[in-house]
Amino acid sequence: MNEDELILMIGGPQGSGLETTAQILTSSLAYSGYGVISDREYYSNITGRHSYIHMNVSPHRIPLDLTYPVKLLGAMDAETIFTHFNDLDKGGFVIYDRSVRGRKLDSIVSMPPITKSRIREVLEKLGIGRDAGSLIDYLVENRGITGVELDFRSFLKDISNKFGIVSTQATRYTSSILVGALAGLIDIERDAIEYGLRRRFGSREKLIKHNIYLIDKVSRQVSEEYGTPMKLPPSKLNVGELLVASGNDIIAMAKVVAGLRFQSYYPITPAADESFFLETYNNFGDKGSILVIQTEDEIAAINSAIGAALAGARSATATSGPGFSLMVEGFGWAGINEVPVVITYYQRGGPATGLPTRGAQSDLMYSLFASHGEFARIVLTSGDHIEAFYDAIEAFNLAEKYQVPVIHLLDKFLANSIVTMEIPDLSSVKIDRGEIVDGGPGYKRFDLSKTISPRAFIGSSAVMWYTGSEHDEYGHTNEDPVFTARMYEKRMEKLDIMDKEIPLDLRIRYYGEKNPDYLLVGWGFVKNTCLKAIDNLKRKGLKGGYLHLRMFMPFPVKYVEEILEDMDISRVIAVEHDYMVQSALAISLFTGIRIRNSIVKYNGRPIYVHELTEAIEKVLSGEDNRVVLTYGA
């Protein structure tokens, strides 16, 4: 579809340096001016299980979507070839070590038996033997794929001899062989590779030197034999600087800008990297510091964050579904006590442990209604790294302005994908702490003369009380039937105030032309996939629109109603990473309009442009009103 874009994949066992490889490649390509997205798919495992990096490199845009097939497959092992051979495009290249040819499918212990038997069936159908060699030969003979066979051992032996590296240590350089081969086929220039290595290894000169030598050598050998068939056209992106960050990184950076001063967390995938980042970047000298604390569990995480907020610090915690499940009682306490605390919530596959390292959007309804009782809250979602940056800052502003807990709802897809992006523009970023007072004698924390009572911090000149029980204006327990209803209403009325005041742009966006032939409705990470699919279909003469839902509480009822009432509802399709199509449920709950078409995916892998495009056509043709996507390994 975009012939000048390059889709590539590298795969291998977890712990074999794939992440490093992806970082080096991403930096090198960004240095050359290309836009890159790099998605990491992995098991909950430290060493040995299959993981892979799926990249989209573009010379003319900053890609935020993923698609198949891939043009290049770099394999660290036979499992990668068995797992991904169907992902390869005609005319593509597979890079592998000579030794994998002899590996048999059945002998790969790290591959789950179910996966093995599924692949075995495919191989049988195609009449291919169960060894990697036969499979490679099949790809070469029948699918127009070129096998780039390298002798990994001889390369490693060479650097081992050349630099006096013990041979067991030399194996750590295996991933650089793949970098070299890819650099050769793509024609990444040497200075770009060197840049990528420096960025990864800093001042570890020896390591850089060894890697450059190895990459150079492999790259030369590969391009001598195969040319540079995947050479990218020069970048047309007019950018002088690119920020390269994962979703976790960008949120952490936003929190620094937002003035976060207290972050608590308990380690959990895929949220912990954000807190890790903050632990590294927590001291800004005379500009302040952030206290990042690893607590004993998520219960302590939320409750200590609430405590810090009561004392006046901008405060947050970051977690994922299982962690949030433990936080819910504290979340309700923040609700009844009108505490501005931000919960950065990275969804993963559930329930329970579910798919701990895979993505999902199945916690939407949970975020909207988590906790017993009712209270005003904000649930804000972001469609990509750029949105997430500004939203993460706004989450704090809204929390403090309206004195409500805020859930910033994200997902694993965003958390773990590394993208290039333009450096955020901070010139229009504002910090709004809401109405803060010093209190003084007789201070009423829950003063009923205003729906949003002026807030004094514990530690100011005032004395105040908080309680998880229903309370009076001072914060003392109160169950008077008349008064109770008033305090209840004070909290709930904030939903109306927020609905009136929060700018629409933060809550919903419409992309596309007016009066589209069909409308996609989505939120979160599906955004850019939808936009790309719409773009693809435009070339086929289909005019699409995308309604991007951002804030689910308070829900932008009027706007959604207006858009949907203008549409033929049979031409509206909800796209989501779950089974129940929770965003469509939310729409029908808040507006009464029921979207009947859906394209869903709940196997933990991201929705890819190619499968979404096909599915949209299928729905629009009337063939099916629900398509379940399953692509990916």
């Binding site: 960004a30 240095y31 001016g33 960025r199 970048s235 007019n238 950018v239 690119l242 920020l243 390269v244 960050a245 990184d249 950076m253 800008v257 937002a258 003035g259 001063r261 207290f262 970047y281 927590n282 001291n283 800004f284 000298g285 500009k287 302040g288 510091s289 206290l291 604390i293 607590t295 004993e296 219960i299 302590a300 995480a301 409750n303 200590s304 609430i306 405590g307 810090a308 907020a309 009561l310 004392a311 006046g312 610090a313 901008r314 405060s315 306490w333 290039t420 450096i423 901070l426 504002k430 514990i458 530690g459 100011s460 004395v463 908080y466 309680t467 998880g468 029980s469 003392h476 327990t477």
Partner: protein
Amino acid sequence: MARNPSTYRSGLWIDWCPGCGNFGIITAVYKAFSELDLDPSKTVVVGGIGCSGKTPHFINVNGVHSLHGRAIPFATGIKLANPELTVVVNGGDGDILGIGMGHFIALGRRNVDITVIMHDNGVYGLTKGQAAPTLKRGIKTKALSKPNIQDAINPIAIALSAGYTFVARGYSLNIDHLKELIKQAISHKGASFIDVLQPCVVYNNIYTREFYSERIYVLDEVGDWDPEVKSERVDEMMQKIDQAWRRSLEWGDKIPIGIFYKNPNYSTFEERLSMEVPTYLEKPPAKQVITTSEGRPIFTGDVFREFFSKYIIRTKNNRR
């Protein structure tokens, strides 16, 4: 001039049962606060849930009536965000050692400068007398249909192993003694724990006033009792923990109260944070200004670029 104890009364009607041991505890708290002359606006009492959890409402200092078992995390967040505050936790034995045990241990490990006053009555009073963690096995209080089949927790021994650097036991009806313990605990630099034996007059017909008055003795009145670690020597610390632990096992004809262990030489969490961020105590999270006078972030575009330079790539052609 020090504030009068009555300054610390919130004026709310205290809805504990007549004769409840909690009255002794709160009286000791009022007196201790008064003698320490604590500034009500710079003092925070954090309660859990249960009879003891209501304590914050009855005291005229900042009060946070939190969640069951979670007083310690709330207190930790408050204290670390603003370490100049004096933070005291009040919770029952069910609250602190039952549902909140993980947090109790974590506070010891961190040695944050917080005082925990545990109202220890062996029962869950507010839910009608179920067995709480300090109720011994085999005991059948009147609300129980059968004798308790779970073993009791030894709060002193747990506090010692968790790392509390001030561990004491008081008795709610020995108010002046308890007041002194509270004063010392608050003045102590680090995590302090006071296990306060407190008869529940309604639901615990075993651990009664009579039960305790026959058994309690004051450790200080034992000839050469010295609970304090005076050096930074590990062997001295171990010897003091060891003697405290032995005393903690006494529960029979004689039950000791007083200071079991005290170590003022151990690093607090706040000190550890200061090692990492030297400005921490001077500019803790709650006291930092995070916005310019125009309501902009402190981080401008230039500062952002410099601080996160590792994440910024200047592209080769640098066309801009």
